[in-house]
């Protein structure tokens, strides 16, 4: 498991233990990864986050167009595994959970424990964000060197 913010780890671990999810991803509504478990390569996580956020955003947009307000979750039940995608509100904005699960659990259990996860995150969320010095004044030199190596220049 990897978490951007340490306080997410406890509630997420409890969810993983209870739900038997194969892959779990928490992200912001703009597709930034908050935490993940089950992915093997970090870049695949980012693609999944971008697509998951897009599904929720487009589902919201369709709900507004059709006067449905807002849908609670998206569920795809496949033959080998299912996908559960659900937004929830936090003090830091809207977050989204993406859960891939197999026949060792069920959509109902995933949904149940995901609701618990959202509540546990709300309870664990600290008021203040950690801060600190972010980038040195001369970061441009390092940025240029990184981009040049990236493009083989």
């Amino acid at each position: 498991m990897r978490c951007v913010e340490p306080w997410v780890a406890g509630p997420l671990q409890a969810f993983l233990d209870e739900s038997s999810a194969r892959v779990t991803l928490l992200m912001t509504s703009s597709g930034q990864v908050i935490a993940q478990d089950g992915f093997t390569r970090s870049v695949d996580v980012m693609a999944a986050a971008a697509l998951g956020a897009a599904i929720v955003a487009s589902t919201d947009a369709i709900a507004q167009l059709t006067g449905a307000g807002r849908y609670g979750a998206v569920l795809h039940q496949g033959t080998a595994q299912g996908l559960y995608l659900a937004p929830f509100d936090t003090r830091r904005g809207r977050w989204i959970g993406l859960v891939v699960f197999g026949p060792e659990t069920s959509a109902g259990l995933v949904q149940l424990f995901f609701r618990d996860l959202a509540q546990a995150l709300a309870a664990a969320e600290p008021e203040a964000r950690p801060g600190g010095v972010l980038l040195a004044e001369n970061f441009e030199r390092e940025l240029n060197a990184s981009l040049r190596s990236l493009f083989g220049r």
Partner: protein, 200 residues
């Protein structure tokens, strides 16, 4: 908004390539994808129509490396340029840390550039984003076409770049200007972050 992990010392930023249809937004990402070593980029996700026109977005995550002790990642997105896809453009624009406006340098596409730029401003405004503070660069693509077909960089600057933001001439198909554009927007986004701009 940028996501900063102080514990793991990681920064993730979202860059959106915006502009009229067929101006070369996807071509920019394809060039970056083809040029960057596999270990430092993810898979490129393209949600496109059968005719390869962008339907929802293209997405390419790249690892810039360590900057000021932070492992820095950029997520590059494109929007669909065709005017009737505005609903999806709005969704992709959400949470952008910086925008590259890819204009088509062909004189006959000038009105499309203006329309798309106005659309960008409208969509940012609708999301409560102050256009004057969002990192933005212009890329004038297709500068390789015959001179009688295209507007020069100076002419396009005069006509479109009234805020005087950084601008770059480009031939994205062959890679000219793609690196410079990415470097330009990266600097602006990170400079804003360093100055205490947005971090989720």
């Amino acid at each position: 908004m940028s996501l900063v992990n102080f514990a793991a010392r990681e920064i993730t930023c979202k860059i959106v390539y915006y502009g009229p249809g067929r101006s070369g937004k996807t071509t920019n990402l394809q060039y970056v994808f083809g040029r960057v070593p596999e270990a430092r980029r993810g898979r490129m996700v393209s949600l496109a129509t059968q005719g390869d026109r962008t339907l929802f977005f293209d997405f390419l995550p790249i690892e810039l490396g360590t900057i000021s002790g932070f492992q820095t990642r950029f997520q590059l997105y494109t929007v669909p340029g065709q005017s009737y896809y505005n609903a999806t453009r709005k969704l992709v624009l959400q949470g952008a840390d910086g925008v590259v406006f890819v204009a088509d340098s062909q004189a006959r596409r000038f009105d499309d550039n203006v329309e798309s730029l106005q659309n960008l401003h409208e969509n940012l405004l609708a999301q409560g984003v102050d256009v004057r503070t969002l990192p933005l660069v212009y890329q004038y693509n297709k500068q390789d076409l015959p001179a009688d077909l295209v507007m020069t960089r100076a002419e396009l600057d005069d006509a479109l770049n009234f805020r005087g933001v950084p601008s770059f001439g480009a031939d994205a198909l062959h890679g000219s200007g793609v690196f410079e554009t990415l470097k330009g927007i990266s600097e602006l986004v990170l400079r804003r972050l360093a100055a205490g701009g947005t971090a989720a």
